[in-house]
Structures are given as C-alpha cells and as structure tokens.
C-alpha cells in the first residue's frame, strides 16, 4: 500500500509539474495577433518568409511583423525555431535587402506594454510571444 501511494505521489507530481515545465519553457513559442485582427491563421512557413522580407497578404490584410525583443533569450529561440538562422545572419540579410530595395525595417518592441499597444493599434501586426505570455487580447495564428 505504501509503495502504491509512493507511486501515486510520483505520478501526481509528474502530472502537475510537466505542464508547468512545458509552459515555462522558452521554446514554447506562438505567433499572435490582436483579438480584433482579421488575420485568422498563417502557415509557419509564411511567417518565416514575412520576417525575411517577402510581402504577405492574409485574409485580405497585409501582414506586418513585429520583433518582440522583450527577452533576448526568447528572441534567440525565435531566430532558431522560425527563421533557422543566427542573429548575425538575420541582421546581415535584412541590411542587404533594405540596401537593395529600400523599404522599412521590421519594428522592434522592447516592452510588453508597448507590444500590446502596437498589436492593439494596428490589426495587421503579428508577433511572437511565449505561450505563457498570450493575453486575453491576443489570438494565436501560428505555432512552429
């Protein structure tokens, strides 16, 4: 009976701790828009293309990406899991693209409040956040 209880405790602890650990992991990344955005879903390959400068229209709306730099570690996760490149390669790629074609760089946001405000004020904006940071005003449109 004691052995059974010990196993039960271990299983219960695992069941409770696993989701918490998963939700806390920085790699649990999602692409979000404001809840009022007409953008319903984006294939993750298109997210990558858009962040690399290829124009993208979804549900009749031009998608405008935002770089979430509130956490440097998490930004690195985004670069590796979505863009498959280092920060240096990405920077050089975008520098070269702007130098060739002109155009605006991708907006970078460094605080959560500013991120919320940017998404709220422009429904065309998409960004990446940890799943745990998805607020009630955000809607998930892609997951790597």
């Amino acid at each position: 009976m004691r052995r059974f209880l010990a196993w039960a405790m271990v299983c219960l602890a695992s069941a409770i701790s696993s989701p918490l650990a998963a939700s806390a992991a920085p790699a649990d990344l999602v692409i979000v828009v404001d809840e009022n955005s007409p953008i319903r879903g984006i294939p993750i390959a298109d997210v990558r293309r858009r962040y690399l400068g290829i124009p993208l229209v979804v549900n009749g709306v031009e998608v405008i990406p935002v770089r979430n730099l509130t956490d440097g570690d998490f930004y690195e996760v985004f670069l590796q899991r979505v863009l498959f490149m280092s920060a240096e390669s990405y920077e050089r790629r975008m520098l070269t693209k702007i130098f060739r074609e002109g155009g605006e760089s991708i907006l970078a946001v460094t605080s959560r409040d500013e991120l919320q405000r940017v998404l709220r004020t422009d429904p065309r904006r998409v960004t990446f956040v940890p799943r745990t940071a998805v607020s009630r005003t955000m809607r998930i449109v892609a997951e790597p």
């Binding site: 730099l69 440097g72 570690d73 920060a87 920077e91 520098l95 130098f99 002109g102 760089s105 004020t121």
Partner: protein
Amino acid sequence: MYWISSLLKARRFLPSRRSPCLLGHEGRNVRAARLRPNFGGYLRRSLGDLLLAASVGTALPIHAAANELIVFPRLEVLHTQGHADEPESTEGIAAASIFYAGDWRQLRALVEFNLQYEHSSTEIVREKEFERAQLGWRFDPANTVWVGRYHTPLGYWNTAHHHGAHLQTSISRPRIHEFEDEGGILPVHFFGLLLQGIQSNHDGALSYDVGAASGPTLSEGALEPVEVLAPQRWGKPSFVGRVSWRPDAVGESEVGGFAAHTRIPVLDPVADEVRQTIGGAFANFDFAPWRLVGELFWVSDAFRSTGKASDFAVAMIEGEYRVSHMWVLFARHEALGAGARDAYLDRFPDYPKARTVGGVRFDITHHQALTFEVARHQRRDGVVYTQTALQWSTAFP
C-alpha cells in the same frame, strides 16, 4: 537603424534599450549633429542635401514613417604595377556611401549618396554624388513604381551591391559593372521610371524590374549618366528589364535574365549616336560555405553615322568559400569574348581582355572587414599588369 542596434543587443541576450541614432526608427531621435565633427566642411556641405531629404520623413507623423540611415565608410590603398607607358602608382582612397530609405504609408524614398576622396602622387580627386535618388509609390505590398536615378537592373552585381563596399566580398567590382566615372562601359545608372515587384508562391519567388528612362551620354571616352542635382544633361529614351527566380523565396540563390536598349548620344566634336542593345543571364548559387556567381553579357552597338553594328560578349564567374565565420576566400575571372572587335568598345581602351582576381576577406567584427585583393589585368593590346589592394570597410552603426 534602431532595429540594427536592437539586434546587436539581442545577440548578447540582453534586453534592448533605445539608443540614440542619426534618424531613429519611425522618425524619432534626430541626432544629425553627431556626424559633424568627424568629416569636416566638405562632408558637412554634402550631407546637408541628404539630411534635408531625410528630415522630410521625420516631420511626418510617427506611426506613418519608418526611416533607415546607414553609412558605409571605407579606406583603401591601391597599388598598380608599372606597365607600358604607365608608371607604378599607389593611390589612397577614403570614401563613404550614405544610404537613406524611408516609407511613409505608400510613399517611399531611397537615397544613396557617395563621398570619395582619392589621393595619389599625381592628383587629388574629390567626388560627391547622388548615386541613387528614388521616390516611389507602393501600390500594393509586392509592387513599387519608382521615379528618379537608379542602378540599372543589369545582371546580378549591379542590383546586389551598389556602393556599400562592406556588403560585397571582393574589393573591386567586375569590370563590366564598373561605374561610369570609373571607366564603365555600360549604362549603370538610369534616370526615369522603374517598376519593381515580386510574386511568390509557397516555394519560390519571381522578381522583376522594368525601367523606362533617360540613359547616359558619351563624351570624351566616358559615359555620363544624368545627375540628380548638378546641371542635368539628358540622354535619350532607354529601356531595361530584368527577371529573376529564387527557388527558395527566402534563400540567396537565384537565376535570371535581363535586357536593355539604350540610345547614347555621342557629344564629341563629331556628334553621333550609339544604339546599344544588351542581353544576358546570371546565376547566384549559395551552397554554404560555397557561393558561386556567374554572369554573361552580350552587347550590340550600332553607330548612327556609319550604320554598322558590331557586338561583343563578356563572361564573369566568381567563387567564394567561407573558411570560418571570420574568413572568406574569393576568386573571380572576367573575360571578353575572343575576337571581339567593336567600335564602341574601342572608345574604352582601358577595358581589359581578361582580368583575374583573388583575395581574402577577414571579418574583424560583425560590422568591420579587412580585405586583401590581387588582380591581374590583361589589356587588349597584350600588356599585362597587377594591381594590389587593401581595404577596411564597415557599416555604421
């Protein structure tokens, strides 16, 4: 600009903090004064025009505007071996390409201003010139129509590298892409309209450029494109088109073709006109750590006075090998087609029969590079000589 500094911070896994810049993101943080002490009066006067243009963007509402200002300085020493009647020479070059791009809703601007100071034992040359000055209208996310002076979309190199030395691996440009004021034989700049667009599917992307503009004039053995601010000498209607295909829309590899037709007035004492038709193909294969660029040009010229047409072909191939994240080896060979005899080409006696270039680039930091290059020139009269160059280049900030 701001996103570049942000990325630098992100590389160190630190939360980014807004840093001062010349023209901050979305039109904020104007700190033009930071440029002044370093470049002297010559640069100040030249930058005035550029900053005036840039300030237009900053005056617009914050959420409507996005600006980039990037400076590409370079220092270079070029040694040329004595050959034929030319003595050995060493030349020092200090230059900066100042690039500005701004978007205000559908309106776009792109300006590239080049400052150059060359010092040799025989002469000092100062240049300041708007190399690109374009105003555009983005009528949908994938298509923009531009008006102004632009780099003609001929081949790969002329659309890829422009004047930002730091972004190209080698020091020299392929001779066929040389700028007009450096002895270039093709119209590298047009002044007029340019339609630029990209269409992509789930895998690849098709890019296109179509231009209708004024071409250059030819005077005393040199092409002269239309200037932006200086007294303008207009050429004749000219046309250019380019199509390229990227199998992977976000990759670097691409293949494509291009064509142009230019009427070039000859403004020498005996007035004439050259009708020049250009066609060609290019490919850029990026298989890290290898990269291979190849270009093929066919150029046909007909002088109005004689009515005779002649043509020549030029081929170029460049290979690069990234040894590590800091070292890149490169080599390039350019050649004029055998038996080329062209009355237009004869006006450019310095254009070589062949040129072979080899070198190494060392990335000191992510934004600074030191490049060493050796080039062997073979002139059409058989004279052979060597040029050696050392360059420091950077992108700021």
